[in-house]
């Protein structure tokens, strides 16, 4: 099916044009700095969400192949066509990313520090990641894979509060190396097959030494974006220090690109040569998962706890991807959709509590006893994050875990253990906030605003509906 009105290009272009509008926006007299930019950004994202929803309406959700194909003659020498296309999986992720960023925006609505820059780079990032998720050929996939590094670097540098400036350079270069490795693999594939669709890469038979290099390079470039040992240092040192909720959410979307990359690139049957390496990779991934879950459990910093939660779940999805089962892929899609929303919500409400704590210069123990709205939202999000039956995470993670247990019991047990640790970590934090303490000077007035509460209720509604039916918003589903 071809795309009417080039809808896929449109959902990539809308955030980009929104960025240009933000660039040209000026603040009204007396308004908060960057308020206008913020409003334009929110409006842009909501407009794009409506467009995405419209695309869901015309998509055949039963088809596993890419739909709404758009093809552009881009370059003559070398002969490269840019092809865009979506399936339910990628569109779900696009919607989830937009919702996560929208939630993140509410976390920075009161921010006055370089708000316009934050909005500009957020929209640029959104445009690039949307392009990445609709890319259907190897070149557009690579272009967007690398392109999202620029806004990410700028957001981390300006809002990440990274004390060691050299760390940002190394973080960028480390990700850039991953992108360069993917570029070399892309050029090799291009050399052998010309401009190739992602779906066809798996069916190309490369000569023996080249096969190792191409698949090795592809795996390495994706793994470099997931905090798995030995690649965990740069990501963990950056992510766990970010205090700006939106910046954290955007940074936490980076591993998603790797998971998605594996799903798109890996052929239906993995090359036999990779079998052993993947087994070693799985062992390393599980050990990293357990290790990070334990550190999250013992660490007192709320940001590290959320980082541990995010990492453990991403590694779970990564391991699920390697099972290479169509049912599991669907489960990963549904689970990821809710996971991204939960992660963003958790970060925003935790960030809110942290900033209140900083303002009042006291501990937040028992804070939730005094604020009803925040207490309800925080409790629900924690319950959803732990994986209890309030969102699509519950059923789908159950399916992924059961398949992984069937695949390898020892690995499955360690996975369950890691998930239990991060679950306990989050509940421990909830209990701390619920256990009243005299040292906490925060009161009723510090509750979240009614509009924010209403928005969070809408988010909770989305999560609950996804538990009932993952594609509830699609009329024909």
């Amino acid at each position: 099916m071809n795309s009417p009105f080039a809808l896929l290009s449109l959902i990539v272009a809308v955030p980009f044009f929104g960025m240009l509008f933000v660039l040209s926006s000026k603040d009204a007299k007396g308004a908060l700095p960057g308020r206008n930019a913020f409003n334009v950004c929110v409006f842009t994202i909501i407009s794009n969400i409506i467009l995405i929803w419209r695309i869901f309406m015309i998509l055949n959700e039963k088809s596993a192949s890419l739909q709404l194909i758009e093809r552009f003659d881009w370059l003559n020498t070398p002969n490269i066509d840019i092809v865009l296309g979506v399936d339910v999986f990628s569109l779900l992720l696009i919607l989830a990313v937009h919702l996560a960023v929208l939630i993140g925006l509410f976390g920075v609505s009161a921010n006055t520090f370089r708000q316009k820059s934050l909005m500009v780079f957020t929209l640029l990032f959104l445009s690039m990641i949307t392009g990445f998720l609709v890319a259907a050929d190897i070149f557009s996939f690579y272009i967007f894979f690398e392109a999202m590094l620029l806004p990410l670097f700028m957001i981390i540098g300006m809002f990440g509060e990274v004390r060691k400036q050299g760390l940002i350079n190394r973080f960028f270069l480390y990700n850039f190396i991953g992108a360069i490795i993917l570029f070399s693999a892309t050029m090799l594939i291009f050399y052998h097959r010309g401009s190739t669709m992602l779906a066809d890469v798996g069916s190309i038979s490369f000569p023996a030494p080249l096969r190792y290099y191409i698949w090795g390079a592809v795996c390495l470039s994706f793994v470099s974006r997931i905090p798995v040992w030995p690649f965990h240092y740069w990501i963990s040192s950056i992510n766990s220090g970010i205090r700006n909720p939106l910046a954290f959410i955007i940074t936490a979307l980076l591993p998603l690109t790797a998971i998605y990359g594996f799903i798109r690139f890996l052929p239906a049957r993995l090359p036999l040569e990779l079998g052993d390496y993947i087994m070693y990779g799985e062992i390393i991934a599980v050990v990293t998962m357990l290790f990070i879950a334990l550190i999250g459990f013992t660490n007192r910093d709320y940001q590290y706890k959320i980082f541990a939660y995010v990492t453990v779940y991403y590694i779970l999805y990564l391991l699920g991807v390697f099972v290479n089962d169509e049912l599991i892929m669907t489960s990963i899609g549904y689970s990821l959709f809710c996971f991204l929303i939960i992660m963003a919500s958790l970060e925003v409400v935790s960030g809110y509590i942290y900033h209140k704590e900083q303002e009042a210069q006291c501990v937040s123990n028992g804070f939730l006893c005094r604020v009803k709205r925040l207490s309800f939202v925080y409790s629900f999000i924690t319950v959803a994050a732990v994986g209890l039956p309030v969102s699509a995470v519950f059923v789908n993670n159950f399916l992924i875990l059961s398949r992984l247990l069937g695949f390898n019991v020892k690995m499955g047990v360690l996975l369950v253990l890691s998930l239990a640790f991060v679950g306990v970590t989050l509940i421990q934090e909830l209990l701390r906030l619920k256990q009243d303490s005299k040292e906490c000077r925060l009161g009723k007035n510090d509750d979240i605003s009614k509009p924010f509460f209403a928005f969070m209720l809408f988010v909770i509604f989305i999560l609950l509906m996804s538990f009932v039916k993952p594609l509830w918003f699609v009329a024909s589903a």
Binding site: L23, D73, W74, L75, N76, T77, P78, K116, S117, V120, M128, Y142, I143, F144, E146, A147, L149, L150, F153, M154, G157, M158, Q165, I168, N169, F172, L173, F176, I177, I180, F183, S184, M187, L188, F190, Y191
Partner: protein, 474 residues
């Protein structure tokens, strides 16, 4: 005979500027920097139009020959010159200095570049190169206020004289061994395998070394770095933006029309220069505190990248080198426009530390700077990615995997050098009070960025015509 004069009208127009400017300088009482820019613009536009009109007409038989691809390069040189002359007028207006000498030297240099691009005889090259050396020295010493500028001028003078001597020696050796200096005759001789003795090959190497010196390829780059770090901004622009295009074509013409029979030897020589330029450029750019010096090393790095694109000597390679150069020039014009917007207390800033926190007060200039720097690294979705893709593709299609590896590693080092500037501009606190930026700087940046966006969305607009023209080179 009359026809020949008409065909020569682009060159004559460039020369005609000189007496006209002299008369205006002598007799007009109210003259500003803009006066000479306006005059040069008129003559340059006429040159541009007549160059296109007589695109395949050759005035002086075997000495000078115009073809569609030489016209393409000439047109590019004139357009870039026009843009840079316009931007330079802002510098002269700001400094309240006479621009007479700059524009006169500029038009004279363009005349020499025009001869260089049309050259089909080594004697033309041997005559033009020293003259270009002299005018370059004139540029360097223009408006010099400091001892280091004089030192850079002296250093350049010595090197230019030395390489002119090398060029003449090379030309003499070739004449001795082959009996002709005409490109077509040399091509015929080398293709037939005629004398491949030491002296003939030495002659070729000496000629190439002189061209590579002018192209600022490492290890002959020290003069370029020295000049760029201390000369005035308009002069730096001439060396960085205009000269490389002319010298690139000179190298292409030499390789394609005279020495193609020695392709394996040339491949080795150019590859060695490419690797050295790439790594010296990328390594040295890291850790520079002078922003212009840093971009001088970017120029050296660019030469290396360009040579990598060229070393296969086929239509793909010339296309990749051309598109890389075009994209580089577009980005560098942007960078130099940004430099023109970086002023504090009427002084143009050149130290990295001086632009700390620039994004706080000049967000648009900072954003443009960011775009151009990422473009120079070749990062998508910036236009520079197309250049990187074109060069890497040429190497991939000829299965030069090791060269691809070298290129990609060098990109990482170059990226690190730019990250330091970006960090200073965006992540560090404001330390300096910047002057108000002229509106024309913003307009120039806007036009440049629009061109960049159009080119990245549909590169065919820019490159399709060039591709057709350049197919005839090899």
């Amino acid at each position: 005979m009359l026809q020949n004069w008409f065909i020569m009208s682009p060159e004559l127009s460039l020369l005609a500027y000189l007496p006209a400017a002299f008369l205006i300088n002598r007799f007009r009482a109210e003259k500003t920097a803009k006066t000479f820019f306006t005059l040069s613009k008129i003559f340059l536009l006429f040159t541009l139009v007549t160059t296109v009109v007589f695109y395949n007409q050759s005035p002086l038989g075997p000495w000078l020959k115009n073809t569609s691809y030489s016209t393409l390069f000439k047109t590019l040189v004139y357009i870039v010159s026009l843009a840079w002359f316009y931007l330079s007028s802002k510098w002269f207006l700001n400094k309240n200095r006479s621009s007479y000498r700059f524009y006169s030297l500029g038009m004279w240099t363009l005349f020499l570049f025009s001869l260089l691009i049309s050259a089909r005889h080594l004697l033309v090259l041997a005559a033009v190169l020293p003259l270009l050396g002299l005018s370059a020295r004139g540029f360097i010493l223009m408006h010099w206020d400091e001892e280091k500028v004089a030192a850079a001028g002296r250093l350049y003078g010595v090197f230019a004289a030395l390489f002119s001597l090398l060029l003449w020696s090379g030309v003499a050796l070739l004449h001795w061994r082959l009996g002709s200096l005409d490109y077509a005759a040399l091509q015929g001789a080398f293709s037939a395998g005629e004398p491949r003795d030491f002296y003939a090959l030495l002659g070729v190497c000496l000629i190439l070394s002189a061209v590579l010196f002018m192209l600022s390829a490492a290890p002959f780059h020290s003069w370029f770095v020295g000049v760029i770090s201390c000369a005035t901004l308009p002069v730096c622009g001439i060396f960085t933006l205009i000269a490389p295009i002319a010298w690139l074509f000179c190298l292409v013409a030499l390789v394609a029309k005279a020495f193609l029979g020695l392709a394996p030897l040339l491949h080795g020589i150019l590859l060695a220069f490419a690797v050295v330029s790439l790594f010296i450029g990328a390594f040295s750019a890291n850790g520079q505190t002078n922003i212009r010096r840093l971009f001088a090393f970017v120029g050296v790095y660019n030469t290396g990248f360009l040579l990598f694109g060229l070393i296969n000597f086929n239509s793909d390679s010339i296309m990749s080198a051309f598109s890389y150069e075009l994209i580089y020039v577009l980005a560098m014009i942007g960078v130099y426009t940004v430099f023109l917007g970086l002023k504090s207390k009427s002084e143009y800033l050149s130290d990295v530390a001086e632009i700390s926190g620039l994004s706080h007060v000049k967000p648009y200039i900072s954003a443009a700077f960011l775009v151009f720097m990422f473009s120079l690294v070749g990062m998508p979705p910036m236009l520079g990615f197309l250049g990187r893709l074109a060069v890497v593709n040429t190497l991939v299609t000829s299965a030069q995997w090791f060269d691809v590896g070298i290129l990609l590693v060098s990109v990482l080092f170059m990226a690190n050098a730019f990250l330091n500037i970006i960090r200073t501009v965006y992540f560090e606190p404001l330390k300096n009070a910047f002057d108000r930026t002229d509106k024309s700087i913003y307009i120039s940046l806007f036009v440049n960025l629009v061109l960049v966006i159009i080119s990245i969305l549909n590169p065919a607009y820019v490159l399709l015509g060039a591709e057709t023209v350049l197919k005839g080179v090899f």
